[in-house]
Amino acid sequence: MSETQRKKHVRWVEEPELGFWESTFVPAIMQGLKTTLKHVVDRKPVTQQFPEVKPELPLHYRGVHRLNRDEQDRVKCVACMMCATACPARCITIEAQAAPPEWPDRDKFPKSFVLDELRCIYCGMCEEACPVDAIELTHIYDLTGESRADLMYDREKLLSVFDRTKNDPRDPVRTGRGKLGPASEFVQLPAVGPATTVPSSDRSARAEAAGVIRTTGREGQQ
């Protein structure tokens, strides 16, 4: 950086000059007292009285998980392990079992599904990963337990969270697509386009490597 550039970018700031009244401190202190006194007299506390007044959480708040049920009250989960794989905290342990013959829409279901709520970082990756929208995060924030074992949420506990929250307007069942979810109804995989439209001039639209699913946009260009 040249000298002139340096001079242009560095701004020299002088401390404000202290005159007679500033040197005596008194007016500044009075001014400060006026400000604080104004708050004492004209009180508008911003504190929420928690146990009596529940906080208004944002709609995207991520709290305790639930396992959704389908219309026949079966667990929606198909034990695909996507959530357990996506989980950065590795707090989900799933044991899969072959689905009984009267459930023709799936191959597997979770024999046991244990989620360690203490280990979870509530990032919501499991919800993102789930192909059948079986696991969702609710608005329950006051999670307590008397022991660590209490907070190992198994399948039944997670299903009971669903029963508790399904009628809460803040925790709607966020999917109505198909019996299990959109992924369960694919007969064959459609060509997958990018989540956002990529202009054909973009470098990423032109890139082609082995194993990359060809984008519809690129086909259109050809």
């Binding site: 020299w12 002088e14 000059e17 202290l18 005159g19 007679f20 009244w21 500033e22 040197s23 005596t24 008194v26 202190i29 400060g32 007292l33 400000t35 604080t36 006194l37 708050h39 004492v40 009180r43 508008k44 506390p45 911003v46 504190t47 009285q49």
Partner: protein, 399 residues
């Protein structure tokens, strides 16, 4: 009733009342600070949180007392005791209600030790002992933060003792006594116009500021500033021993507030309500309440100041004591001596105080200006301006 019994009863009342009052002052401090910061403050225990001090007291009583293995046990245990003992002892000569002829009937007496002629000197002597509690506590803790806090506290208390004592000497000269009851009586018999604040406003300001420093209250709480020193000298203390330090600090606050009201605001005198010839029933109670109301005002002031202004830097703290307050209190004392010696009217002290205050402001402003001139940055800023000027001049010349 024998004198001794009355004294014992008064001591019992004071020693019993002060911890309770201190507890509620802590609640007041928490509430006021909460209100200033748009919060609610403690409101869970009892109506409006009024039983919070009780809960705090029980908590402090039942908490585990940790004595770390690396401390000097004897000094560690003595230090909080010294802190409280000296603070309570200083209260012995402070009248907390009307005394003498105007006092309460029967055995009630609003001072523990009446007629102590060295009143003020006693308070300052005992008050300076309080620094031993801090120094010993910090030293015995065998902890760097505690030692630093104790060092700062001792330097600060020793420095501010000088303006504290010197600002009051003017009043001693005016009243011709250091007996607190007589100083109070002197103002009361003179009426509203005889309050010392009219003659010694500068001394009042100096006294209040110095006593804030003496009590280690913000903005002078460098000895226990949390951001730098954890808890200062009481870092290693827990439970009731820590509470004793706190009790000492708040007792100090109460003493200071009473002293300021007695020395400068005419004690229990309030025109129209509490006059020396008020003869309505329970006049003594009203007088007591007036004095306590004045003290309460100063306590509120201290709390407000604590949550309003930021803390001084240590060099600023020392500068304020040695370069401002000590010379000013000395000049103030000289002014009183001058007025008394030439037997001028006491009212000359009012413009005198104002003139000293103005001189202080002008001297420190010009000192700051001189310091700024000595700084290399000052030259650089001037250079930039001249550069700009010459540029403008050149521009004009080109046209």
């Amino acid at each position: 009733m024998p004198e001794l019994l009355i004294t014992i009863i008064t001591i019992a009342i004071v020693v019993g009342a002060i911890p309770g009052v201190c507890n509620y002052l802590i609640l007041l401090e928490r509430k006021l600070s909460a209100w200033m910061q748009d919060r609610v403050g403690p409101n869970r225990v009892g109506p409006l949180g009024l039983l919070q001090p009780l809960a705090d007291g029980v908590k402090l009583l039942l908490k585990e007392e940790v004595i770390p293995p690396h401390v000097d046990r004897v000094l560690f245990l003595i230090a909080p005791g010294i802190s409280v003992f000296t603070a309570l002892l200083a209260f012995a000569v402070v009248p907390f209600g009307p005394v003498g002829a105007a006092g309460a009937p029967g055995f009630l007496r609003f001072i523990i030790a009446p007629g102590i002629d060295i009143g003020l000197v006693f308070i300052f002597a005992v008050g300076s002992l309080a620094v031993y509690g801090i120094v010993l506590g910090g030293w015995a803790s065998n902890n760097k933060y505690s030692a630093l806090g104790a060092l700062r506290a001792s330097a600060q208390v020793v420095s501010y003792e000088i303006p504290l004592g010197m600002s009051v000497l003017g009043i001693a000269l005016m009243s011709g006594t250091v007996n607190l009851e007589e100083i109070m009586q002197h103002q009361i018999s003179g009426g509203f116009a005889a309050w010392n604040i009219w003659f010694q406003p500068l001394a009042a300001l100096l006294f209040f500021t110095a006593s804030l420093a003496e009590a280690n209250r913000l903005p002078f709480d460098l000895a226990e500033c949390e951001q730098e020193l954890v808890g200062g000298w009481h870092t290693e203390y827990s439970a009731l021993k820590w509470a004793l330090f706190f009790l000492g600090e708040y007792t100090h606050m109460i003493t200071i507030s009473f002293l300021t009201s007695i020395l400068f605001l005419g004690g229990w005198h309030l025109p129209g309500i509490a006059e020396p010839d008020s003869a309505y029933p329970l006049a003594w109670l009203v007088k007591m309440l007036v004095l306590m109301g004045k003290a309460f005002f100063f306590i509120c002031m201290m709390i407000m100041l604590r949550w309003t202004i930021p803390r001084f830097r240590f060099d600023q703290l020392m500068e304020l004591a040695w370069r401002v307050m000590i010379p000013l209190s000395l000049a103030n004392l000289l002014m009183v001596m001058f007025v008394r010696h030439f037997e001028l009217s006491n009212w000359w002290m009012l413009p005198g105080s104002a003139a000293l205050f103005a001189a202080w402001g002008m001297i420190s402003a010009s000192l700051r200006e001189a310091e700024r001139r000595a700084r290399p940055g000052y030259v650089r800023r001037k250079k930039v301006e001249t550069h700009h000027d010459s540029h403008a001049a050149g521009h004009a010349a080109a046209h």
